[in-house]
Symmetry: C4
Subunit: 249 residues, 4 copies
C-alpha cells in the first residue's frame, strides 16, 4: 500500500481561477487522489476527475504528477474535448480523453477514475467477466465490458487513450455501466458524484480479489442476481474515514 | 491493513448513561473496534457488540461510523429487538438486528462481530465449507453454515439484515456454532466474551487464508477431527498484544 | 505485518540471574523475538530460544507473552526437561518442550524457533512436501518431514506439544534436518546459532510462498538438487538490517 | 514491504574519490537502493549499480550491506572485471560479476539491478515464460529468458554468480533484452539509465503478479503483441514520487 505523506489543507488559497469554486470541492478532489493511492488503486499513474460544478462542459483534474503527491495548487480545468484551459505550462495527463469523452456521453456522470488497479487487470486479458460477487461490488452487475484497443487502433497501437476518438470508443463500451476494463492496461470507473466513483474504484478492486479467490476454490460461483445488484450504497461512511486516513478535514 | 490513528483513553468521561458501567468494559469495546480494523477484519463497515453487563436484555455498540474511528463517546445501548435506547440523533447500524437476535437466541453469547472479512466471503459463494484447518481455527469445527438471504427474503432481496425476522433466521442458521457465513456478504461471529469473539473473528480470516492455500496446493486436505476442534484456547495473550498495538491501555 | 513498537535497550539491567551472561546475547534473543514478529513469522504466539552459552544443559526463552512485546526483563532459564529455573511466577510457554527436546537430541543445535508461520501450515495438511525451491531456502533440502500428533497422542489429542514425550517424538521427526512441520499447527526450526535459526524461520516462509506460486503456475517444478542445497549462507547481512528495523543496536 | 528508515542527504560529503562526480548522481544511486527495498524488489540481498558517468569502463555500487541501509558514504567503484578500486576494507558483493559483465557486453546499458524479486522466482522454475501482460510491463516482450547455472557450472554448482565466466554466460543469456531470470535464484534487469532500470525492476514484479493471477483465472491469456511491447515509457513520474517516498530530495 502506498503511503500518503502530505496533509491536505482546505484553507490553502485556490488562486484566481477558482475564486468561484467551493473550496470543499477542491479539497475533496485532492483527497480523492490521496485516498485512491492509499488504497492501492492508483500507483504512480492513473487519475481522477470531477465534472466542474460551475460549468458542466468542463472537468477538473490535477496536473500530471503521482496522485499521492496531489495538492490544491495542482488543479487544472479542461473542456470536454480535453483541452486544458489553465495549464500554464504544467504537464497534463496524456490519457485525459478518457474523462472528457465519458462526461460528454454520460450527463449523469459527475466523476471519473482511471486506474491500473492491480487485481482487475487479469480479468481484462482472460475470458471470465468481472461480476458482482458480494454486496459492496453490486455496481459491477452481471459482468463488466472489456475495451480492446486493437478493435479501434489496430494491432499497431500504443496501448494508450491518446485522443478523443479512442476516448469515445471507450465511453461507448462503458455504455450505461459503472466500470469498463481496458485490455492489458486498467479500467475506468464512472459515478454520479465523487464519493461514489471513489467507492466504486476501491470496491472494484476488492470484488476482483474475492472473485479470483472464489475461482481458486473451484466449482460454480453464486453471483449477485439482477435484483441484488441494485442495492443502494452508503458511501458517506467509508468516505469520511478514508478522508481521515489521508489527513484531509 | 488499516491504520489505527486514534488513541483510546480509558479515563475519558463515559457520561451519565454509563455511570454504572465499568469503564474497562467500555474501553475494551472501543479497543475491539480498533483491533478488528487493524487486523483487516473490519473495513469501513461491520460492527462489534457486547451484551450489556448491567442488563442481559441489552447490548452495547458504537454509533454507525467506521470502527477504526470509534471513541468512548460513541457508545449506544440497544434492547434485544435492536431499538436504540440512547441514540440521541446519532446514526445507528442498519444491520444491528444481527446482534439483537443472536443475543436473544443464545444466552451463552456475550459478544458478536459482523464483518466483511475478505477471505471468508469466497467460501460463502462456493461449495466447499470453511472448516478448521489448524489449531487456532478449531472453533470452526467440521464446517460453518452459510446463510442464504434468498431463502428468507426471496430473489428480490437487498442483501442486508434490515429487520428482526432476517436477524432471527440468521441466528437460527448459526445455531449452536461460533460462526455463520452470509452469502455474498460476510459473516457473523459469536463468543462467550469479547476477547473470544475478537479472537474468533480474526482467526476465521486466518483459517480461510490457510484453507484457500491448501486447496491451491491440491489433493486431499487433512482437517482437524471432532476431538481436536475442542481445543481450549488461550485468548488473553493475543488480546493483550492487540490492545497494545492499537494504543489502548 | 506486525508492528514492533518497543525499542530494545542493551544497556538495560539483566538482573542477578544473568550477571554472568554477555548482555549482547540477551539483546539478540530479545531482538530475535521482535524480528520474527516484524517479518510475520510469529504472531501473538510462537517462541524462540537459545541454548544457554553458560551451560549447554539449559536454554533461555522469554516468558509467555507475545514476541513483539519481548523485553530483556522477560528472560527465563530452563533445563532440558523444560523445567523453569527462575520463572518467579511469570507465565511460561506451554509448548516449551519442543525446545528442550531438540536441544537434548541435537548437541549441534544452539537456537530453536517454533512458529505458526502462515504459508507453511498448508504444506502440513496436504501431500506435496515443502522443498528448497530457491537458493535462500536451500536448508529445506529435498523435503521437510511432517510430524503428525495423532501418531503419538492418538485421535483424541489436543494439538499441542504439552510434555516431554511429545517433544521427543517431534525432535525425532526433525532428525538431522533444519525444519519439521507440525500438522495443522506450525513448524519448528533448528539452527547452529541464533542468526541462522532466525534466517531459516523467515526463509522457510518465503520458500513456502514461492513453492505455492510455482504450483499455481503449473507443470513440473525445478527444485534445488542435492548439491545445491548445501549452499553456504551469509546470515550476517540480513541479521544486521533486521536488527536495525526493530530498533535494536 | 520493507521500511526505509534513513533519510538521504544529497549535501553529504562524497569524499575525495568522488570529488568529480555530480552529487545528484550519487544521491540517485543511494535513493535507488531505498526505492527498490521500499517496493519489495530487494530484501536484505540484491544490488543496483550504475555505469560510472566519469568513465564507461567503471561502475558504481554500494558496499555489501542491505540496500535499505545504503548511504552516500557506501559508494565503491569497480572496473568491468569487477575488481574494486576503492573498497578500503569494506565488504563487496560476491555476485558483482553480474553487473560488470552486462556493462561489458552491452554498451547501451547504464544501470543494472540484481534482485530476488519474489513473484518472479516461480517463473524461473516452471515452464511458462514471464511475458508482457500489461502496458507497464511492455519491456518484457514475448518472454524473458531463463539462465540455468547448471548449464555452465554443472550439477555441482553453488547457485551464485561468483566469477566473470558465470557473469558472462548470464549476460549472454540476457542478450539484447531487458530482463533475464536466474533459475531458483532471482533476476537481472538492465536499463539505458538508472530510472528506467528501477522502473523495470519494479514492474517486472508487478507483471509477474498479474500473470500469475491471469493463470489462476484460467483460459488463454491475451498478452501484448510485438508492436505493443515497444510502448514508450514515462519513467520520470514514478521516479519522482518514489524518491519522495524514501525521503530523497
Amino acid at each position: 500500500m502506498t503511503q500518503v505523506s502530505k496533509s491536505i489543507d482546505g484553507a490553502q488559497d485556490l488562486g484566481p481561477d477558482y475564486a468561484d469554486l467551493d473550496s470543499a470541492v477542491a479539497v475533496d478532489l485532492v483527497a480523492a487522489n490521496h485516498i485512491l493511492a492509499h488504497n492501492g488503486v492508483l500507483d504512480s499513474f492513473g487519475h481522477v476527475s470531477i465534472r466542474d460544478p460551475r460549468n458542466p462542459n468542463q472537468y477538473l483534474q490535477i496536473q500530471a504528477i503521482a496522485p499521492r503527491d496531489a495538492a490544491i495548487s495542482d488543479l487544472i480545468t479542461f473542456d470536454l474535448d480535453s483541452n486544458a484551459i489553465n495549464a500554464r505550462g504544467r504537464p497534463i495527463n496524456r490519457e485525459r480523453f478518457i474523462h472528457g469523452q465519458i462526461y460528454k456521453m454520460r450527463p449523469d456522470v459527475k466523476a471519473v477514475v482511471h486506474s491500473h488497479s492491480p487485481t482487475v487487470i487479469p480479468f481484462s486479458v482472460t475470458e471470465k467477466p468481472l461480476r458482482a460477487i458480494f454486496h459492496n461490488g453490486h455496481f459491477l452487475g452481471q459482468g463488466t465490458p472489456v475495451w480492446e484497443i486493437r478493435d479501434h487502433a489496430g494491432e499497431q497501437n500504443n496501448m494508450l487513450v491518446l485522443n478523443n476518438e479512442l476516448g469515445r470508443s471507450l465511453a461507448e463500451k462503458l455504455g450505461k455501466g459503472s466500470v469498463v476494463l481496458m485490455r492489458g492496461h486498467g479500467n475506468a470507473v464512472a459515478g454520479p458524484d465523487l464519493k461514489t466513483a471513489v467507492f466504486r474504484a476501491i470496491y472494484t478492486e476488492v470484488n476482483a480479489k474475492l472473485q479470483m479467490q472464489a475461482v481458486m476454490l473451484g466449482g460454480p460461483v453464486n453471483f449477485l442476481n439482477e435484483y441484488e445488484q441494485q442495492k443502494l450504497q452508503n458511501v458517506d461512511r467509508p468516505w469520511d474515514t478514508w478522508k481521515k486516513q489521508v489527513g484531509a478535514v
